[in-house]
């Protein structure tokens, strides 16, 4: 690229510095041209088959000779209509799709970019939902984070539903007490949501806040915080199979626009409807992936925390059977954070198994009459390398340095 320009400037005899100067000028000009087109380039080179149009439409456009999106930009609707043999409304639709490129989101991302500092401010502003178990809150970095999906796996009876119900109550703690003051949506697929228990937890949370109230603002907020209000702000949906669950998730954007104060969506559990109705496991994987993507999109767009509950399944390998999280290996990538609850003798332990920002840790908790709380022993927050055995024999997890020592 460098050489042809230098030839045009002075043949083979021009002084080197002049050649370089001119070449650099040419390059700069080229770069400038590139910059102007950079936002438009990606759109213009897009081929027609990749546009989000109906297949029959794409076939007609290709037959009329339009290969790339840039061929279509300067067309007028009537002209396009005649050349491609499509109706006038369809021509307008095609041109509109080109202008938005299907997703205004994508275009915005091409022009603006977020710096990590902006993200840091955003993340700090989003906050997290406390679990009332201080050890777990420390391990999670404050609580269940808003704007991310968290998966809770565990054996039966270990406390997944209890933790979800506790979070649904805790998200409503007023802002002046350090909570989010938001509402919650609980999607129940198993039938384990029993309202008497939530009422107990709500009562205990109100009492906890009463003990903490110091100034007038907090006391005022406390007057409005009653068990009745907490239960009214907890929306409940009961899904019986995976179709109802998928339908509910497709309708979530509309629901969240109507109720913008919702800060938590719980799906308890996501495993049950997907574990027994599928012969075609690849279809199940596709649906689960689509679901995971929709949920993370909702979490970021509407600033809410999404909590999913998963079950455990027995995997037999080399004659030994181990308990691993259900729904397959590929589901392990779906959630941002993964928490595994397990039994060890008489104790209940929670292990943070996957997190982009927190260290792996195992802590003990217990379920009391008031709900999800710390265990009476010293809460452990350091990563456990000694006696606690690996919770689920997850072969794909490579051992950490602490485990090896």
């Amino acid at each position: 690229m460098h050489t042809p320009h230098s030839r045009s400037v002075g043949g083979g005899n021009a002084p080197f510095w002049l050649v370089c100067q001119t070449a650099i000028k040419h390059q700069k000009k080229k770069k400038k041209k590139k910059k102007r087109k950079s936002t438009v380039n990606s759109k213009m080179h897009r081929t027609v088959p990749s546009l989000p149009l109906a297949p029959s439409m794409k076939v007609k456009l290709i037959n009329a000779g339009f290969q790339v999106a840039s061929d279509l930009t300067d067309m007028r609707p009537l002209q396009l209509c005649k050349e491609a043999g499509i109706s006038q409304e369809e021509a307008v639709e095609v041109l509109q799709v080109l202008r938005d490129d299907g997703q205004p989101h994508q275009q915005r991302a091409a022009t603006e970019s977020l710096t990590a500092l902006d993200l840091l401010h955003q993340e700090q502003a989003l906050g997290s939902i406390v679990t009332f178990c201080s050890a777990l809150d420390d391990a999670l970095g404050g609580g269940v984070p808003v704007g991310k999906t968290t998966e809770i796996c565990g054996s039966p009876g270990v406390g997944k539903t209890q933790l979800c119900m506790q979070l649904a109550v805790d998200v409503q703690i007023p802002v002046c007490f350090g909570g989010l003051g938001g509402k919650a949506l609980y999607i129940d697929t198993e039938g384990s949501f029993l309202v008497q228990r939530v009422a107990d937890m709500a009562e205990a949370a109100v009492q906890h806040c009463t003990l903490l109230a110091e100034d007038t603002e907090q006391r005022q907020a406390l007057e409005e915080l009653t068990v009745e209000k907490i239960l009214s702000n907890l929306f409940l949906v009961r899904c019986h199979d995976y179709v109802e669950l998928l339908a509910e998730v497709y309708l979530l954007p509309d629901f969240l626009s109507e109720h913008p104060e919702v800060r938590l969506v719980v799906i308890d559990s996501i495993a049950f409807p997907f574990r027994h109705d599928f012969e075609d496991l690849s279809q199940r994987t596709r649906l689960l992936n689509g679901l995971a993507q929709q949920l993370i999109q909702l979490a970021t767009q509407h600033s809410l925390a999404v909590v999913l509950t998963n079950q455990m399944t027995t995997r037999v390998s080399n004659g030994q059977s181990k308990l691993v999280p259900a729904l397959g290996e590929s589901w392990g990538h779906a959630a941002t954070q993964r928490l595994i609850l397990h039994w060890e003798g008489l104790r209940r332990l929670a292990s943070l198994y996957k997190s982009p920002s927190q260290m792996e840790a195992t802590i003990q908790y217990q379920i009391t009459v008031q709900g999800f709380r710390d265990a009476p022993d010293e809460p452990r927050t350091t990563p456990d390398s000694s006696a606690v055995s690996s919770p689920s024999g997850n072969h794909s997890k490579r051992p950490r340095m602490e485990d090896l020592s």
């Binding site: 029993l194 339908a247 309708l251 049950f272 109705d277």
Partner: protein, 373 residues
């Protein structure tokens, strides 16, 4: 509902035809494919495909309510078992709208408990009953109508002194005998009509395990998965029926030997710990997946010569607890619980909770009946 036909949801007839050519006829078919696949099969643009999915979702999705609506119907949340200590722990009784499992060794009282609950369900509301019919699906032919009548008369002598009431109670219990897995599944799928016809307020399936264990040999490869699938399907249907009609569902299960190291059990009497630590221990059957499916698990086990225990092993509302009882003429009678132990905040995995079985018999010649040792 998921099986709603497309043409009833407001989708244009022409689009219905196009989808029918690809075997997409119900909401379930369309919602089971991804938007990109739908785009390709239906010949729609991406945004039109999403609109179609949203339209179908509106037709299928369940309604949103709030916990407060549920709390206001407090009186209809539970079915009292007439055992006060158990009701107190379960915050009212067996939950309506969820599955309750009773598991334990043979002869411990599972079927007796089921028969007792059947009597209770037919009682009028003033006496704590549901004033409704009972559907009893019996797979072991263990149901005895004589025992039902005997129990009713012994438990509520004044109420059932009138013979008509006794006959009416007996006529409200509807018995179905199913002997294979497929029969049970077929019966469950048609049960909606029966529940409406019998005006049933309680559904009992005794037992889930016997048919499944007869037909599935889990040592063969693949059978474990088939069995889990079948159990999952049964659980799905039962949960739907239980929630739609707001009725309690009681299932019974059997026990199996778990080979492996012994799991610690709270309040295990040290003197009774078996000396053979590594021989395995007895626990609930049907595996881990089934332990996830049931919402409440009650384990019945032997405590000593005379008494047995109910253990609340898994419950969304109750802590881990043990209550002693005996089986009498009037059914289950709680006794020996004068000192209720403090609420334990511990527990074990309900799928691995060790269960005590009868360890032997002593035949005492002076008494006519055998007793345990």
């Amino acid at each position: 509902m998921a099986s709603k036909k497309l043409r009833r949801t407001g989708v244009s007839a022409e689009l219905c035809e196009r989808l029918k050519r690809h075997q997409l006829e119900t909401c379930q078919d369309v919602l089971s494919i991804t938007p990109v696949e739908l785009m390709r099969l239906a010949g729609l643009s991406y945004s039109a495909a999403l609109d179609l999915l949203r339209l179908l979702s509106k037709a299928c999705a369940p309604a949103v309510s709030s916990a407060w609506d549920l709390w206001r119907k407090k009186g209809e949340l539970c079915f009292s078992t007439s055992l006060p200590a158990l009701d107190r722990l379960l915050r009212g009784g067996l939950p309506r709208g969820a599955l309750t499992e009773v598991t334990g060794p043979s002869g411990c009282g599972k079927t007796q408990l089921c028969i007792m609950l059947s009597v209770l369900a037919t009682l009028p509301r003033s006496m704590g009953g549901l004033d409704s019919g009972v559907i009893f699906i019996d797979t072991e032919s263990a149901f005895s109508a004589e025992r039902l009548v005997e129990m009713a008369q012994a438990r509520f002598p004044e109420f059932f002194s009138v013979k008509e009431r006794l006959l009416e109670m007996a006529s409200r219990v509807h018995l179905f005998r199913e002997l294979t897995c497929q029969d049970v599944l077929n019966r469950l799928e048609r049960l909606e009509e029966d529940i409406i016809a019998c005006r049933a307020g309680l559904l009992i399936l005794d037992s889930v395990a016997s048919v499944v264990r007869k037909e599935f040999d889990t040592s063969l490869p693949g059978n474990l998965m088939f069995r889990s699938n079948l159990l999952g399907q049964e659980a799905g249907v039962l949960k739907y029926l239980s929630q739609a009609f707001c009725i309690p569902v009681v299932l019974t299960n059997q026990i199996t030997t778990h080979v492996g190291e012994k799991v610690h059990c709270p309040q295990w009497n040290q003197a009774d710990v078996s000396t053979e630590e590594d021989s395995g221990f007895v626990t609930a059957a049907l595996g881990n997946t089934w332990s996830h499916c049931v919402n409440t698990r009650l384990i019945v086990q032997y405590e000593d010569t005379e008494r047995r225990q109910i253990v609340i092993a898994k419950s969304p509302v109750a802590p881990f607890a043990m209550l002693s009882y005996t089986v009498q003429k009037e059914g289950i009678r709680l006794e020996g619980n004068e000192n209720p132990e403090s609420v334990l905040n511990q527990g074990t995995d309900p799928g691995l909770q060790p269960i005590r079985v009868r360890t032997g018999f002593i035949y005492n010649l002076s008494q006519a009946t055998p007793s345990t040792c």
